[in-house]
Amino acid sequence: MGRSRHLLVAAGISAAMLSTGAALTYYEGALPTTLNPLYAAKMVDYRAQELVFDRLWYHSPINNELESRLVQGWELTDGGKGIKLELASGIKWHDGKPFTANDICFTVKSMLDTGTPSPIAEGYRDILAGCTEESRSTAIVHFTRIVHNPRERLGFSVLPEHAFDGNTAISPDLEFSARPTGTGPMKGSRGTRGVTFQAFANGHHAPNIPQMQLQESGDPLLAIKALINNSVQGIIEVAPNFRADVSASDELALKSYDLRSWWFVAINSKKAPLDDRRVRQALNFMLDRTELREKSIGVKPGERNSPCEFISGPFVPSSPYYNRSVPAVERSDQGQAEALLTEAGMEKVGGRWQFKGQPVSFRMGMEKSLDNEAPDILSYISNQFEAAGIGSQVYKIPPDKWTTEAITGHLTDYDLLVGKWSFGQVEDVNELFYTRSRGKGTRNIFNYSEQEVDRLLAQYDVAKTDTAARDAYHKLHRKLAEDLPYLFLWKLDTKSAWRTEVKSNTIAPYYYFTQFDSWRYEG
């Protein structure tokens, strides 16, 4: 058996070597739900869309300069309340039709159309007022007010008017979501087992890689093996546990990917006994984050430059919005937890906590793909609660279900949900904690609602100065650390691994493939 296995492996490796001549393949933790930029909900959606579409303006991943591939000239109009865009010439959509000012205005109008139920579009409705086409190559985008650095605000992907027959109310379940038409370097098509990208030479793009495939990675160990065997050439997110293996290989390179991500355990504060803040605070003390981090992520105690740092609120510690005067709970404190639970009217019988005579047990879920970054974390958390006298049934939730049910506030039969949020330059957390109503709180997992929190979020929204905005979020951080709609766990750095045959693969912060034209594959 062993012998035949080695023969198989040898055959496999050689077959894999031969196979790399075909397409460049990379692994994501999950497949994108949609390739329609208006409905991106996961980072994998954004990354895939960056290959297919052009954002109007973007930051160069090399020197962070604000650049545009679609606009060759611009000027402010209407006393700063508008910007006139002169489009670059020779740009075609992936179906061969020319890119015109109509497309820019169509995109703006579809984002302003309330029949487009997109949280991303919702964000733009505060700033954008409309758009007029002056000519085929000139459009004027109107703002609701005078804004500083207007180009910075125009970071949306441009959609083709003809693909929607001019209908600005765009629904998520159109074929466009699977087979979009963009102006980006690659033409993308979502298949049943992955996404295929074909290079599309254009006036403003000249990709060097003719074909690329995105596949779902599944087991992280197998993913690393496949990378080492050259069956795939890249993994977007490598679990900290496996980074040493990547560093130790001459054929792999570990690449930095700037993404501000933090992990949490959302608490269903609408259900008893979790509706009692003291119970939530007790859970916060029950968790031994240091042990969790060591077992699941592999961070040794006292390790310097750890990829994983504890947090006490909804920001990464390096962020100016992070309130450093609020300490993170690093070790469990069962004494405090017991005192709080007793105060909340619970009693411990035979080592198990009881509430109103019933043993306390929580239904806990986690987005399944997180297991790739922090293996078995759900079991470790559940074990810690068990050890503290609280039972739990734990479930792994598929990424799509997480997108359609968890972040839309429909998994209310759960008590606790383990998840991760990622941010770019903007660290706006309002959508996570606002009371759900009229386009607010669109990502409020357990429909948390707290008057003071709403007031602070509104304060941030209307802040006239940077200081006011920052103060509002510092107060929000403190308030959330007390009220605990989430148990805040840690921020975790993201690293990618690519085979060394993939050259000049500059990775853009957050969007990843912004500089894809320069990528080369010498496999």
Binding site: R5, G218, L222, K295, K368, S379, E386, K396, P398
Partner: protein
């Protein structure tokens, strides 16, 4: 196989499964990285997985997942088989035609398709192996009833009962002893044993596929419980990726074999003298 040997095998194989199921831990042993992929010699009796968890947990939890549903499905099919045989003995043409019609409808659809359709329609909180096992049993029942009816038919059906009545036996004795115990037993027990085995294989198949697709299983909570399918999945990793988990494959195959042996030996043990 000789009947006594079959009985011995039945006792041993079922015993193994029952003991494993009853000693199943509620949640698996906390990992010990140092024991990662420990061989059966390093961590008796079965070795450990990638995170140092003993494979014994997998064996026991897997047995716990399948034990009750498989037995229930087996008994259900046995019971319905008996009903089918007795109906033939009663000689009710209407009931027989209903059974035949039922068999036609059920037999016209692939079982696995029905199982999956039921799985998606079943409310989340109802989803469990038990539900699927019962559906599987109901799908298998018409065949069993048909075969039992054929056996009863060969006995002479209603005429057989009348003949025994003439010898002065009570109806209850005739049906339960002469018909069921002496004549239907081999068929219905074999059908029940096969269903038992099929339900175990169904669980393994569904869990393996869910595992391979990175999706939650229909049959158990994979975050706290491990199925035998997890052993086979590790076996797949051993073959495909040279992961040192050959011992998991061996254990997985062993458990599947024990189930098959149990089914065969039950059938043999129940066959007529």
């Amino acid at each position: 196989m000789p009947r006594n040997v079959a009985i011995l095998f039945t006792i041993i194989s079922l015993g193994v499964l029952v003991v494993l199921a009853f000693h199943s831990p509620e949640r698996w042993t906390v990992m010990a990285e140092a024991e990662s992929y420990a061989s059966p010699f390093e961590l008796p009796p079965f070795g450990a997985d990638s995170r140092g968890r003993p494979l014994t947990d997998y064996a026991m939890q897997g047995a716990h997942i399948v034990a009750l549903p498989a037995v229930v499905a087996g008994l259900l099919v046995t019971f319905l088989g008996i009903v089918g045989g007795l109906v033939r003995c009663m000689g009710s043409a209407r009931v027989e035609s209903i059974v035949a019609g039922l068999r036609e409808v059920v037999g016209a659809l692939p079982r696995m398709v029905v199982i999956l359709v039921v799985a998606i329609l079943m409310p989340l909180e109802w989803r469990s192996l038990m539900g699927l096992a019962v559906v599987w049993a109901l799908l298998a029942a018409p065949g069993a009833m048909d075969e039992a009816a054929a056996v009863a038919g060969r006995l002479g059906g209603a005429r057989f009962v009348e003949a025994l009545r003439a010898h002065g036996f009570s109806r209850v004795r005739i049906y339960l002893y002469h018909v069921v115990a002496l004549n239907l037993r081999p068929v219905v027990v074999r059908q029940g044993a096969e269903t038992l085995m099929q339900v175990v294989f169904l669980e393994v198949a569904l869990s393996f596929l869910a595992l391979a697709a990175g999706e939650p299983s229909f049959t158990h909570n994979e975050a706290t419980t491990k199925s035998w399918a997890d052993l086979l999945y590790q076996g797949y990793q051993f073959i495909a990726m040279d992961v040192p988990s050959g011992h998991a494959l061996v254990l997985g195959l062993l458990l599947v074999a024990v189930t098959a042996v149990a089914a065969v030996s039950i059938s043999s043990a129940a066959r007529a003298r």
